[in-house]
């Protein structure tokens, strides 16, 4: 993977990442996120990790970000009207992030070795599958359980309870309120 191609994808990733953070409209930042993810998966594929690259694309771009889109729709989020104030937090945050980047760069710049030629079938699916289903099987099963729990949790939290009337604004709107209502219903 030549430096030029890397540079292109790197710039694309950074710009789109900035896009995610700075965009006013949530949908735009979502698209920026898609772009970042694709750039990253391209970089991964460039690094030889072909299987995981495509998997990243499939899982993240195909499913997760779409769910984000769904939520944006459900909440009908328009453009943020800009966020005045909170200057102190912003300044402090920016400063902290800058420091973070400086420190990380200081670390990674001195990483010594260039990547050696990839061994045969380095990033292939069967090598990956081999590892996942042999060495990390327990972890794999655990993640499957995790996903199940996540799904059930998500449904439990987000579903609309039968007793839910359209909520009066704020008053008694806490989760506790729901419980009380559920008991009454």
């Amino acid at each position: 993977m030549e430096v030029g191609v890397f540079a292109f994808f790197a710039v694309l990733a950074v710009v789109s990442a900035l896009g995610v953070v700075l965009q006013r409209s949530p949908v735009h930042s979502l698209l920026a996120l898609v772009a970042t993810l694709l750039a990253i998966s391209a970089l991964l594929i460039g690094l030889g990790a072909v299987a995981i690259g495509f998997l990243l694309a499939i899982v993240y771009v195909g499913a997760i970000v779409v769910v984000f889109l769904f939520v944006i729709w459900l909440l009908n989020l328009q453009r943020d009207p800009g966020e005045p104030g909170h200057l102190a937090a912003k300044f402090f945050g920016a400063f902290a992030v800058a420091a973070l980047t400086a420190e990380l760069f200081a670390f990674f710049v001195r990483a010594p070795v260039g990547p050696p030629p990839a061994p045969a079938g380095y990033g292939s699916v069967d090598r990956l599958a081999d590892l996942i289903f042999r060495d990390y099987l327990v972890a794999f099963e655990a993640t499957s359980l995790l996903l199940l729990v996540a799904v059930v949790g998500a449904v439990a939290v987000a579903r609309r309870w039968p007793a839910d009337q359209p909520r009066r604004s704020g008053a008694g709107a806490s989760a506790h309120g729901e419980l009380r209502r559920a008991e009454r219903a």
């Binding site: 790197a10 995981i52 990243l56 937090a89 990380l104 590892l131 990390y136 987000a158």
Partner: protein
């Protein structure tokens, strides 16, 4: 081949941008997306280092990061929905009931 430090630096940059998003933006969804960016920055670094060391373990870790990311996104978004339904806002600083 491009030296691995470039990847690491890129990863660091993306991570930093993600962190900035989390810390600065008020909108929960955007915060969530920044978190995804951070996660993927880490994925990139993992694979890059894996590639440098010639082991596929990095990729396995990325695989698991993805699953966790997915689970987290699912639950997170559900929470945001529930929060919005009851509090009518997804501004991070307005959801501050858990305070002194």
């Amino acid at each position: 081949m491009t030296p691995v430090s470039y990847y690491l630096v890129l990863g660091a940059a993306l991570f930093a941008i993600g962190v900035a998003g989390v810390v600065i933006r008020r909108n929960l969804i955007v915060i969530f997306m920044s978190i995804e960016v951070m996660l993927n920055a880490v994925n990139l670094t993992l694979v890059a280092l894996g590639r440098a060391l010639g082991s596929t373990d990095g990729q396995v870790m990325v695989f698991f990061v993805m699953t966790v990311g997915a689970a987290e996104a699912a639950v997170g978004l559900a929470l945001i929905l529930a929060a919005f339904r009851s509090r009518h806002t997804i501004k991070a600083d307005e959801l501050n009931l858990m305070r002194w």
